[in-house]
Symmetry: C2
């Protein structure tokens, strides 16, 4: 890895930690520069402005999240197992990442149900591709119902976002784990074709 990338990684890492700890407003450019052992003026060599620093930091964190899920999915071959792995790994990742959870709580607008308000549209779009590919593969293999892939992908991603909001933004922890697992099985049943037989 080249030294420039290293510098960026360190920058995003420090930045994420501070934003998680203090939130966007209370984190000053000076704070970040101090922790990096540089002056705030020099930060502007790496990012356009504070907003840009924040956006790049979150985007980087979301990239790592998606990559982790993608890798887990790629290890599997069966579409049903892929689907289940995707769902479980996604939740597992955030479950074990306190800093990212804190970021979500500080800034509820990171995950929005409105695509037009979505500041992370591109990364979310690429996350949806994972769902889409699994659906296509499952339909191709005659394991899944021939659903409207585009809309069902959108639907699954919306449910996923809804869960994230419920559980980590609104911290409605109570029974949301059980709800998630019940929902997962229900959706898999909704997708599955009964072997060979097409019900009337």
């Amino acid at each position: 890895m080249n030294p420039k990338d290293m510098k960026y990684r360190e920058l995003f890492s420090v930045s994420l930690e501070l934003f998680a700890l203090f939130g966007y407003k209370k984190t000053t450019v000076q704070d970040v520069a101090d922790r990096l052992g540089m002056t705030k003026g020099n930060l502007y060599f790496y990012v356009k402005n504070k907003q840009d620093l924040y956006l790049k930091t979150i985007t980087h964190a979301l990239d790592l999240w998606r990559d982790s899920v993608k890798q887990a999915v790629d290890r599997e071959t069966d579409p049903v197992v892929k689907f289940r792995t995707m769902a479980l790994k996604s939740v597992d990742y955030i479950e074990n990442n306190a800093m990212l959870r804190q970021i979500l709580m500080n800034d509820p607008s990171i995950f929005t149900l409105s695509s037009s308000e979505d500041r992370f549209y591109e990364i979310n779009q690429s996350a949806m591709t994972i769902i889409q590919e699994i659906l296509n593969q499952g339909i191709e293999a005659k394991r899944f119902h021939p659903v409207d892939v585009e809309h069902v992908t959108q639907y699954f991603f919306s449910i996923y976002v809804m869960f994230l909001i419920k559980t980590y933004v609104k911290s409605d922890t109570s029974s949301s784990r059980t709800m998630f697992l019940e929902a997962l099985e229900l959706n898999i049943r909704g997708l599955l074709l009964t072997d060979g037989v097409t019900p009337a």
Copy 2:
């Protein structure tokens, strides 16, 4: 109907219209009193304060919504038809009620994914009862999978709220209708027991 109830209905009707038109902040107690042909002082005979007026007004509107869905569901007997009727009627009602839609847009916090923040907890709880009864009946009649009724009810209600937010709060109108219908069929398939046969 007794005259007191009539007065309240008029009050809520006028109030809803003004809140829809101007939003909570811009609607003054004076505005409401004027439209009712009374003084603002007298409004306090009917409600505790402005906040109470708003809460009672919205609650009343939500009551009418739920009653309309409940009536439509009660006209059916088959659990699958009931389920579909419930979903379609719910969306149909808001689709044909511009004032209520405006209220939702003015105040995005009416429908929240957090039960602890829910100012309309009771009415939403009673709406969930409709779902719960249909699930119980369907399971009893061996038409539905024996799902965890409590959590699946919560799940369906959350999806419903998610759709309302997406469509009427964030006005992501684009393809949300198609998504809704695809999701409805997927969920029904997920609920349905294949006749007689239990898949391994």
